[in-house]
Symmetry: C2
Subunit: 394 residues, 2 copies
Amino acid sequence: MSVVETSAVQNRRARAWLTRAVEPGQAATYALVQQLGPVEAVQLIRSRQAPPIVLSAVGSRGDEDRVDQDLAMAYRFGIRLVTPEDEDEWPAQMLHPMLLATERGLLDLAPPLALWVRGPVALDEAVRRSVAVIGSRASTAYGEHVAAEIAFGLADRGWTVVSGGALGIDGAAHRAALAADGVTVAVLAGGLDRPYPAAHGALFERIAATGLLVSEWPPGCAPYRRRFLIRNRLIAALSEGTVVVEASARSGTASTARRCRELGRSVMAVPGPVTSAVSVGTHQLLRGGDEGGARLVCSAAQVLEEVGRLGADLSEPPRAPPGSRDGLDDLARLILDSVPVRRAVAPERVARAAGVAVLDVLRVLPALELQDLVELTAEGWRLSAAERRTSCRR
Amino acid sequence: MSVVETSAVQNRRARAWLTRAVEPGQAATYALVQQLGPVEAVQLIRSRQAPPIVLSAVGSRGDEDRVDQDLAMAYRFGIRLVTPEDEDEWPAQMLHPMLLATERGLLDLAPPLALWVRGPVALDEAVRRSVAVIGSRASTAYGEHVAAEIAFGLADRGWTVVSGGALGIDGAAHRAALAADGVTVAVLAGGLDRPYPAAHGALFERIAATGLLVSEWPPGCAPYRRRFLIRNRLIAALSEGTVVVEASARSGTASTARRCRELGRSVMAVPGPVTSAVSVGTHQLLRGGDEGGARLVCSAAQVLEEVGRLGADLSEPPRAPPGSRDGLDDLARLILDSVPVRRAVAPERVARAAGVAVLDVLRVLPALELQDLVELTAEGWRLSAAERRTSCRR
């Protein structure tokens, strides 16, 4: 490594190297990195002085150094590496339960050493209020419909929809979140330059335009089967709770549900016809048993009742208080109803949505802001925090 | 009353009078009868010396005496009156929790004073191993299919299927139990001479031919709406557990479920599509809440796992033990497989089912009996008790 490298760059390069050299979740390697820091850990591994269990996990990959190529490839695809040293973007809070559980030896798979990320949103911010919606690839029209209803409802209330980017339920959830102008995060099991499944290439492009693609593997890595199981723990870790919409009897769902419970996260399941093979897995979860139970949910409101914090997202809404909306005239009301809940937009877009003149919007919005109904951010106008909460309850 | 009447007849006539004079479940009247016996209680009521609360519940009906007409009408329709004094038929054991809960003031509705019954089976015996399968009249094809599957499976394993005789789920459950050659009990909310709903007239005839029609009301009584709520507690009381197959949001199901829990009986519910209006009620039950929860069940086996006694009806079958069937030749095996699980039949019927000669059946059955695989009853051949249990586990 060059002498002009700063420590931050060294750390980043060391973690980039590790993401290719070691399969994620390898506990001994994770412990070594936690103990010595990534730079020294990599030096030990490359000089074959690391503990045998680490060296055997690395194998022949220890002789390779493709950091420059990986970073160049990532740059070309708009992929960035996010590491625990990136305090402004690393989802430390969401990963904290995983860290604790690992330190106590409760998990067989360690937290990620770094994450390859593509998309315009800060990872930490994207997953701060998030729910995973996952399920079978062999989904039915019923399952896709319900997954879409729930994901739309979550995104519409400002929650991020996390899923695995697979065909079936995952795809329906991502698409519905996009349709609601929400943020959606696809956690993938291979390099972000390689859309898998290929049929979701266009979907991944749309997700990367407003949400995030996330992977523990560097560009070029193939999504091997075992990598999906490793990936599943990350879906559980990066969301407040996981909703399983359809799952067959012997699916990976039970393991994902177990990961959730290990991390203290909610497991929810949507029932379906008992005659449907892809509802057998969700009914097993709902019946409980060895793997523990899941909460039955039918709607986004019920999901938020389960994961909602501080009572801000109750599914049984109290009657709306006689609010500040009451004094508004029709035009102001119309404009207020056209301001997005979460994502800030330009006044022109509000005008278009409301079907009124831009000048009217420019006149009314500041008045609404004075009443704490909307707020102006760097990106434009959106509902105020108080109004967003009220809007969630509707 | 005539001087030659025995005490037993007096008791019976008094209880018959009470079933017309007082709406069932009336706690004060029940307490009076428990305290003084039916004959003295009726004398007090008719002489207007009973407590005011009892007299007001009886009202002008206290002046009527239609016992002779009611008993004659019952006789004409093959209806008999079963009373707590009929020790060979009164379902004392099944009603015991209701009795205890009433004595402790935990129930707002008292146990029945007597039951009008039609059908060839002893009531006590019929409900000793029974499960209620109930649900919406506005059922879907899905709900009827699942109700039928579960009821058939229960009846096929020798369990009685109790239901309310209504259109929709109830009817599907009764019909499936009949199709399985099982015993089914319809608990009705009016006189057994009056088929209600009228469209189920033929069904009730079929039920009365091999199972039972049961009512707390004497012949001629109309099934008023409030009587269904009174009736519902009896469905809960006369079964080990209740399976709700479909129910809309504001149905009587929640109250039936509460009755079950009051009596310490299992409440079970079958999930369905969250998009179906008649699965809203079952999903509410499964989500729990104020009314307490229900257990999710998908099959007869899972129902029996919930209500099965002494581990004799586990839904997760252990591997079949290397049993006495192992030494059988093909013919014996074929004949054994054609012997009904529960209902005894003639050798001719076994021969027809197996597609073999009657002489072969007559030769093989006694051999199977020696190996304790079948048994000969007054009605014919059926599986032995041990074999019935094994057969349940398959």
